[in-house]
Symmetry: C2
Subunit: 335 residues, 2 copies
Amino acid sequence: MAELPVALGRHLGQIEAALKTNLGQGTSPLDAVGRYVMGWEDEQGRPRTTGGKRLRPALCLFAAELFGASPEDALPGAVAVELIHNFSLVHDEVQDRDAERHHRPTVWALHGEGQAINAGDHLITRAIAALIEKPRHAERSLAALRLLNDAMARMIAGQWSDISFESRDDVTPSEYIEMIRGKTGALLGAPLAMGALFAGATAAQAERLQRWGETVGLAFQVRDDYLGIWGNPDLTGKSNISDLLRKKKTLPVVFGIEHDGSGTIRKVYAQETVTAEDVPQVVAALERVDTPEFVEGEAAKLVFEAARLLDDFELPAPAREALREIGAYLVERDN
Amino acid sequence: MAELPVALGRHLGQIEAALKTNLGQGTSPLDAVGRYVMGWEDEQGRPRTTGGKRLRPALCLFAAELFGASPEDALPGAVAVELIHNFSLVHDEVQDRDAERHHRPTVWALHGEGQAINAGDHLITRAIAALIEKPRHAERSLAALRLLNDAMARMIAGQWSDISFESRDDVTPSEYIEMIRGKTGALLGAPLAMGALFAGATAAQAERLQRWGETVGLAFQVRDDYLGIWGNPDLTGKSNISDLLRKKKTLPVVFGIEHDGSGTIRKVYAQETVTAEDVPQVVAALERVDTPEFVEGEAAKLVFEAARLLDDFELPAPAREALREIGAYLVERDN
């Protein structure tokens, strides 16, 4: 299991405090749901300790420091991106009918789908507020909001594609990669670029860092898709059959359907439900057309692409080393 | 039927053009859903003419002109508020399970609930983009976004309350008024204040105009609740039983439940479904405790409060007259 790099854990206290200030201690039910989503309270409003790593905020502050700013300068961006991430989780859970996340009931499971939609919408307004209420530096805040809003739009477009893929059996691997570039990549690239902008970096510098983060996010997702079928659950802590049981259209499946002349995978996925007995024949069909090798190759290409993006950066050696460490962690983390 | 005041119809062409520029002619499915929601295209993407009055954008441009600006100055605010209004409609339809609006299938009825959630989320990003992409006047755009974001948060809080009222039988009239202040009022007050801000009005002027718009919005909703039970469908074009059949907790019902010693209304609303045969006894129970008089009184109070807010304004006579006309229209319009 990959360990959190020091550079990403350093400001967790500051991030949590800023998030708490933003979401407030109010008695409004939407505030309370916000605190529940962030992990600070249980269903009854009793305090609990969160296990949240706040990766995206940490990336934002790291990028700010990389360009010579203090973490405080970029805190509004850190808060905003975490709230947008959580909005997307709350809406995703409704869309995927997920009743649990990290062993806790999801918002819709507690309050119904209608209220979960409201709770997600509310988090968007809090994210915007983080960036525009009393900005220290109005122009940089506006640039950061522009960037975050664009990333959010691409994330939503990815989510649209993901849902639309469920009813299609002709999704291509490149369509799939485009989808996860939005759904997973956009919100890993954005905080890095936002941090850079808050530190006064140029648009070109911010954009390069953003592309690096997005590419690393893609590599994570492709690797995660691989482990979801060929991983060792004892090592990954992740089931290697549940993706198939849930008929998820991951990269291996999309590639497999495209190349499997026998039609096995398509047939099993066309069933009302997939059972554990169906899994071995699907895996066999995937392996017959060299799916594991293809997916490993795609992940390796993305890791290489990310490394190349770093090479182009003019950075002092320690900063480059920290980025490399962060990149490795982001690809290999278990969630 | 109240007729649209000239001052609100004058810039419709400009508003539509700006909305079309914002939502784009792209081939992405989210853009296409946006065009469908705005009424420009049918389910197959074929052009159609919209019947949209774009009241909120018109209010924004009107307010800008009131303070001496040209309508163009406030167009970004007009576009943003209309997109936020439409986001709220798309999510409301999911929450209320409304399969039709203005005789057209709603987004979730066409694309499923998950995609309707995405479509609404997408419209939020387009609204933010309207205000922050290439702003003519960054500071005013930021002030307008702050105001719109706050209104949006209050609208969402109102929507939360509205849904939570469904499972309660002890909602008070003042809780109800608070709910519609968010759900209906916030997005009528906001465009007026945004227009004022784009014209360089002071925060105090913008706030007064906003309060006026909110109050007028409340008066509309209370009157609409009244007509939903005691209106003449031939005159209003609106059913006078469907609110009760749908067990809506409108102001009359909330007041009635509070005062009806017989428990009739509470009992009927506790039924799985309410039928047309149940309606007369509910109406009789409401009338026994003088509900129509109470609701008419509340509407009259709000109309009076709005008029008082106008009196405090330092405005040339024609502007005051235009506002009065707009206020009367907003209260009496049929949708």
